[in-house]
């Protein structure tokens, strides 16, 4: 029996290096990460029974200045029948609190977010694939010299976990991690599509004020982002700020003059502002640029019809 266990163990260990940790520690110097980082002001919210997901999200939300307690978060994201919390519910929950939520997929990015002051919700399988023990925790620090990551996990504050051990548990959770930030503050490692998806999701859950702020933040980092100017225009339109929407769509059309979508949406903003002539001209432009897409023709017809009423 012991011999069997030993054989199993040797096989297992031989096959299981922690590739990202190894690579990260090897290329430490070139990554530009500080050797240590700890986000100080993220107190532990000790998880209640089965509530690791709600506790992790509540801590992340609190760190962004939102008011959220564990029970309240649990009502929004916990699934009693599964005795646990689904990952997508954590993602959606962050957005329902008006926060930007952006995924993180590599260990380097995870540590970079912590170094930038953004705690990261991590999903782990603390056990093996054959007997999974799923867990959410909040990563708030690391120490490369001691090869540790620091987690607020379960009922333990600042739990120091070996980095390669963490990587194994995280890999078994499919490398799922989420950065939750205030809408005016983008995740450090977010790329443009990820940031835009986060902002568009705020618009979808009708957190329009936060969505507008988030679009501005995306524009702050990528000033020529066509999608962000379009998104800002749509959000302002939904807020009935038609002049603001017009300005945003105009900017989008400046960035990409051949994009029919910009002219299509601009036409609606102009129509709402009562500028019939300009609205029709914009809609016609969308039609001429839009090829055989019938949406633009419908827009033109609708806008011509509006003024007849």
């Amino acid at each position: 029996m012991a011999r069997l266990a030993a054989v199993v163990l040797v096989t297992a260990v031989a096959g299981c290096a922690a590739p990202q940790t190894t690579k990260l520690l090897e290329s430490r110097a070139s990554l530009g990460l500080p050797a240590q980082a700890l986000i100080e002001d993220v107190p532990l919210i000790p998880q209640e029974d089965l509530f690791c997901g709600p506790a992790a999200l509540a801590m992340a939300l609190t760190a962004t200045g939102a008011l959220a307690d564990q029970q309240e978060v649990a009502r929004a994201i916990y699934t009693p029948g599964r005795e646990g919390t689904l990952r997508n519910d954590v993602l959606g929950g962050a957005r329902r609190w008006g926060r930007m939520a952006v995924p993180v997929g590599t260990l380097t990015d995870l540590l970079a977010e912590i170094a930038a002051g953004n705690p990261v919700i991590v999903f782990q399988n603390l056990s093996l694939d054959i007997a999974p023990q799923w867990h959410f925790a909040l990563a708030i620090g690391y120490d490369l010299d001691r090869r540790q990551i620091i987690l607020n996990s379960g009922t333990t504050e600042r739990l120091r976990t070996d980095l390669s051990t963490f990587e194994h548990t995280w890999r078994r959770g499919n490398h799922w991690a989420l950065v939750v930030t205030a809408p005016d503050h983008l995740a450090a490692t977010a790329d443009e599509p990820e940031a835009m998806a986060g902002a568009a999701a705020l618009e979808r859950v009708r957190r329009l004020n936060e969505a507008a702020v988030a679009w501005q933040a995306v524009i702050g980092r990528w000033p020529d982002s066509f999608g962000a100017h379009m998104g800002l225009g749509n959000t302002r339109f939904a807020q009935r700020d038609y002049a603001g929407a017009r300005a945003a769509f105009h900017r989008a059309a400046d960035i990409r003059p051949l994009a029919p979508d910009a002219w299509n949406n601009l036409a609606y903003a102009l129509a709402r502002l009562g500028n019939r002539k300009a609205a029709i001209a914009a809609a016609e432009k969308a039609v001429s640029l839009g090829g055989d897409n019938p949406n633009y023709q419908d827009t033109l017809n609708e806008i011509r019809g509006l003024t007849a009423i």
Partner: protein, 137 residues
């Protein structure tokens, strides 16, 4: 006769109008703002395709393709034939290289064995089930 004529005015004419209205295609109009999510999806698709294209431009990737017997131009045309969803999948898996996949999946056994294995793997730092263990390095 005159009653019928009056009926024609009050019934038939509105009836014709109603029938005409109902037979018009309803709900065809697709007009409206182009939504943010549609725009983000389009932008993301473009970025994904760029990422995959850039990946295929790398010399080491081209060398690997050559040894697989796929010419760079053939690879380009294969990628061009993929849908947005498929490209997204490829783009998502580009930066990670599969290494060190565990042989642990083959371990099947009684709960007791699992518990022992977990204790041992905790000690060597593969798992983190028992809070009292510290990994050795």
């Amino acid at each position: 006769m005159s009653i019928l004529r009056r009926l024609r005015h009050f019934i038939v004419v509105p009836l014709i109008a109603a029938m005409t209205f109902l037979s018009m295609p309803l709900g065809v109009a697709q007009a409206g703002l182009i939504g943010s999510e549609a725009i983000v999806a389009a932008e993301t698709n473009a970025a994904n395709r760029q990422a995959v294209d850039a990946f295929l431009q790398r010399q080491d990737v081209r060398d690997q393709l050559q040894t697989l017997g796929v010419s760079p131009s053939e690879a380009d045309s294969r990628v061009a034939a993929l849908s947005d969803a498929e490209i997204a999948k490829i783009a998502g898996s580009l930066p990670t290289d599969p290494a060190g996949e565990g042989a642990l999946g083959v371990i099947v056994g009684a709960v007791i064995i699992i518990a022992i294995v977990l204790l041992i793997t905790d000690i060597v730092g593969l798992t983190s089930v028992y809070p009292f263990t510290r990994p050795i390095r």
